[in-house]
């Protein structure tokens, strides 16, 4: 499997081309977080990014979301520059922590982006309850975030991310803080929502089983400097459920991914791989290259 994307360019919702990301520091040392990333993601795909800690997968996700600028290369979302896509609210984001505001009710948390977009009250109310019903938390409208369990809070975060019907959902290890059983249940939830809405999902994870269970395609990344070392199509039939996790093909694919990770150096222990080294400064970064 090589780097050539399977989807034709015309259908690509996200096009990443020649992206590098370097973090600099005052003392002059430079860390290459990402190197030579080329990736196309098609409409309605469910793509997972998987790799060892520090391989830059979260950085890549944030580049797509225009929260970080690439050092070189270009990224387009729906044919536009990331910044434009962000202003057009083309994507919703879910982080590892739910990041709900304690001073708002569950319902008001979901309405937050809608308020910022200037929706009128009736529309906001209707959409909030629709979304909360979608994640099956309809009776918890008036609760406060701290009254809910971790898994429930993440569902609220997902409801909020979907509230304004973005075409893309970016998820950064959203279930990392949950226990295994809850995690598997949440996986099922996400798939259900994905099938209902037809949204494109870019999903960052550490967990091989999770990546294989959820995705149509798994992007395997190497340790720093982060590169895409493999693209693995997941040809498990849909809809996927508990039984899918017991299929022989599932285990084969898990093994494929594991071996791809190992080839990319995932089993080598590097000191301080987890974080950008001390002293990385706020460096000016630019997007070079043309519009994709």
């Amino acid at each position: 499997m090589t780097e050539q994307p399977v989807t034709p360019a015309a259908d690509a919702v996200v096009r990443i081309s020649g992206v590098d990301k370097l973090f600099g520091s005052d003392s002059g040392s430079v860390t290459t977080a990402l190197q030579g990333i080329n990736l196309d993601i098609g409409r309605g795909e469910f793509v997972s990014l998987i790799g060892p800690s520090g391989c830059g997968k979260s950085t890549l996700l944030r580049i797509i979301g225009d929260l970080i600028q690439p050092t070189t290369g270009s990224v387009t979302v729906n044919g536009k520059l990331c910044a434009v896509a962000r202003h057009d609210r083309d994507y919703g984001m879910v982080f590892q922590a739910p990041v709900l505001f304690d001073w708002r009710t569950v319902e008001d948390n979901v309405k937050l982006p809608l308020e910022l977009m200037g929706w009128d009250k009736a529309r906001r109310d209707a959409r909030a309850s629709e979304m909360l019903n979608l994640v099956e938390l309809g009776e918890f409208l008036r609760h406060r975030p701290y009254q809910l369990s971790g898994g429930m809070q993440q569902r609220v975060a997902i409801a909020r991310a979907l509230a304004f019907e973005p075409s893309i959902l970016l998820m950064d290890e959203p279930f990392g803080a949950l226990d295994e059983m809850t995690r598997e249940r949440m996986n099922q939830e996400v798939l259900r929502i994905w099938e209902r809405t037809g949204i494109t999902v870019v999903f960052v994870t550490h967990s091989i089983p999770e990546a294989v269970f959820l995705s149509s395609r798994v992007v395997v990344m190497s340790a720093r400097p982060g590169r895409i070392t493999d693209l693995i199509d997941i040809d498990l039939p849909r809809p996927r459920d508990v039984e899918t996790r017991e299929q022989p093909r599932y285990f084969e694919l898990v093994t494929d991914v594991r071996e791809a990770l190992r080839r990319g150096g995932a089993d080598q222990i590097e000191p301080g791989v987890d974080e950008v080294p001390e002293g990385a400064s706020a460096e000016r970064t630019r997007v070079e290259g043309g519009i994709g």
């Binding site: 944030r62 979301g65 929260l67 962000r86 202003h87 609210r89 994507y91 919703g92 984001m93 982080f95 590892q96 922590a97 990041v99 505001f101 304690d102 001073w103 937050l112 982006p113 308020e115 910022l116 009776e139 918890f140 008036r142 609760h143 406060r144 701290y146 009254q147 809910l148 369990s149 429930m152």
Partner: protein
């Protein structure tokens, strides 16, 4: 947090209003016991002259002095307490307003923030009583404003430090979320920073409430109109009427505590969602 064992409104069991109140009350029993015991011991000690010449009248004498001197006589304590409270509240308002304004400016400008800590440190190192004569000279000894300014100076820095912290100490993920919504800085201020800062603001306000009474009385100590607690203390002590002196002191303390509790009550109404407001286990 689990959603197990919920009452109909979805709140965790054992957190109904009455359950919470009885729990809280039980916590205070030792405190009340100590209070009663102290008063009793105090009364006995004074009556049996065990304390020697320490100018400590018996609680009964203090209460009597409080009652007889409340509205009339040479030292009307009721009126004095109100006047002192007036100075304290005035100073609190001035100091808090100034503090909040500076905090917003500091949160906005990073350079200001770097200056803030050393300045706050330096300011807290100034013995506040050195200001009292100065304020009296500036604003006039008899003018309540001189005492208000004492209070304002005392209250200013805790407010600035706390509110700045509240405006800037935010989970990075929350800021990323707002950036993903392409929210402007003023929107972020309105939707995220200010609600986040409210608990910190109340922390500062609680500190300020207690400081304000003390600041007012300290200011009065160096000179002021006659009908304020600080002057009553000075004058009654020099007339050796220590029962009135203690009555004034305790009245000042009680007023400070009540002021503090009022702020706590307001806090409970304004930020019921904050972690410190919810039912605790201990």
């Amino acid at each position: 947090m689990t959603a197990a064992a919920t009452t109909p409104r979805g709140m965790p069991a054992g957190s109904t209003r009455s359950a919470r109140w009885t729990r809280r009350l039980r916590l205070y029993v030792p405190t009340i016991v100590v209070f009663i015991a102290t008063i009793a011991l105090w009364e006995v000690a004074v009556r049996s002259r065990a304390l020697g010449s320490f100018p400590l009248p018996a609680p009964s004498q203090i209460i009597e002095a409080l009652a007889t001197n409340w509205g009339s006589g040479r030292w009307p304590l009721g009126r004095a307490a109100v006047a002192t409270l007036f100075e304290a509240v005035g100073g609190l308002l001035i100091g808090t307003a100034a503090g909040v304004v500076v905090a917003f400016a500091t949160a906005r400008f990073g350079t200001a923030r770097e200056l803030l800590i050393p300045l706050a440190v330096g300011a807290s190192a100034v013995p506040i009583i050195a200001f009292a004569p100065l304020m009296n000279n500036w604003f006039g000894v008899l003018n309540p404003l001189s005492k208000m300014m004492m209070v304002a100076v005392l209250v200013f820095f805790p407010v600035v430090v706390n509110v700045t912290r509240g405006l800037t100490q935010i989970e990075p993920a929350a800021l990323e979320l707002m950036r993903s919504y392409a929210a402007s800085e003023s929107t972020i201020l309105r939707i995220l920073r200010i609600p986040n800062a409210l608990p910190y603001f109340f922390t500062a306000l609680k500190i300020a409430a207690t400081l304000s009474l003390i600041g007012a009385i300290v200011g009065e100590y160096f000179g002021g109109a006659n009908d304020v607690l600080g002057r009553v203390v000075v004058q009654s002590a020099s007339s050796l009427r220590f029962d009135v002196t203690w009555a004034a002191i305790l009245l000042g303390a009680a007023t400070g505590i009540v002021f503090y509790l009022v702020i706590v009550a307001i806090e409970r109404m304004v930020i019921p969602w904050h972690a410190s407001m919810r039912a605790h286990e201990s």
